[in-house]
Symmetry: C2
Subunit: 214 residues, 2 copies
């Protein structure tokens, strides 16, 4: 399995200024959070004139933050569809998804994990517009994962809870993995998600049970 | 099940100045992160003179941050022991643990979740002393949870992976829950952890299978 594509780093130097500002913001927010990222750093990274930020985002950093969250969220949401193609084995797809995330952590020195989790924790109690943007993204990921699992044969009554626990396992294992500088939590959470999906598809398949019980 | 105790808020106005500074830091870091918390706000919350922070923490905010992470981590680590008492049913204990976390989120308007996750995501790529403090805490929680699960009868070969996935599920569900302002992710992650622990204790107990197969 190749590394998971890292869709929040497609910085294109020739892109229009507004787009470059969003791309740079996404990259900086993911690595160092929203609070610790200054507008000066954003425009410098985007090779944009300082005034252009307030020209394109009259609401300033908070408006830019909300747009960046939605932009990153949509980009990462596409990953779910890329892994869970209709007809794909959802257990294998889940293993590949988490293995790709672990590989990306290794390749980026544990910097690139979720594009919005840091912001979500920083702002949930302090900025309602940013919290709402994060909530929209998480809702869309839950719906997308649930839909993908349903397409792949998981019973409809189980898809939402499995999607939520898959995403919770991914997000939480990123927190542990970045601090511990180890992919073990991500790979462990991936195996747990695979087991839960396998059990939902075929509740009679017992790991380690005598074959007559399978 | 009563609400989970919230051990990082035992601010004691009569405590020595140094202790009050750490307690106030813990409270502020948990709600708004490390980066967004200024030293002026910390000393104001602690009712401490400004100079006392650098008197007690010559290394400034980073030294205070590392000590606060370890202090909060030790306090929360005690919770694991409180829920998973020797002889307790680990499946029931896990349900109570997550239910308590959900209740605390509700009671604190989704502000009080993990005391160090926000810092861990903010600083893992920018401050090695703070990342190391977070890693020490997560390691101690993993070891503590694994030990508690072993005491409660979970096979030793499974305790580490179950402890990691339990903590990953908790941390990730906090990210989702705070943004979504819903306890659903926490309760869902709790049920998934319960199922995984139950299956590790008794691989033959199939949910929903005909009783003759149990």
């Amino acid at each position: 399995m190749a590394a998971m594509p890292t869709p929040a780093t497609p910085r294109t130097p020739t892109a229009p200024t507004r787009e470059r500002i969003v791309q740079s913001s996404a990259e900086l927010f993911r690595r160092q959070g929203y609070v610790g990222t200054g507008v000066k750093q954003i425009v410098a990274e985007a090779s944009a004139p300082f005034g252009s930020l307030y020209h394109f985002f009259p609401g300033g950093k908070e408006q830019l933050g909300a747009e960046t969250i939605r932009w990153s969220g949509a980009l990462y949401g596409q990953l779910i569809g890329a892994f869970y193609e209709p007809g794909a084995d959802p257990v294998a797809a889940t293993g590949a998804f988490f293995a790709g995330a672990a590989q990306t952590l290794l390749e980026t020195d544990y910097a690139d994990a979720c594009p919005i989790a840091t912001i979500a924790l920083e702002v949930s109690s302090s900025s309602e517009p940013l919290r709402e943007a994060c909530a929209e993204v998480f809702d869309s990921w839950i719906d997308g994962a649930a839909h993908a699992l349903a397409e792949a044969g998981v019973p409809a009554t189980r898809t939402r809870e499995l999607a939520i626990s898959l995403l919770a396992g991914l997000e939480g294992s990123f927190v542990l993995a970045r601090a511990l500088r180890s992919t073990e939590p991500v790979l462990t959470a991936g195996r747990r998600a695979q087991e839960a999906i396998a059990a939902a598809i075929d509740p009679g398949a017992i790991r380690g049970a005598p074959s007559r019980l399978r």
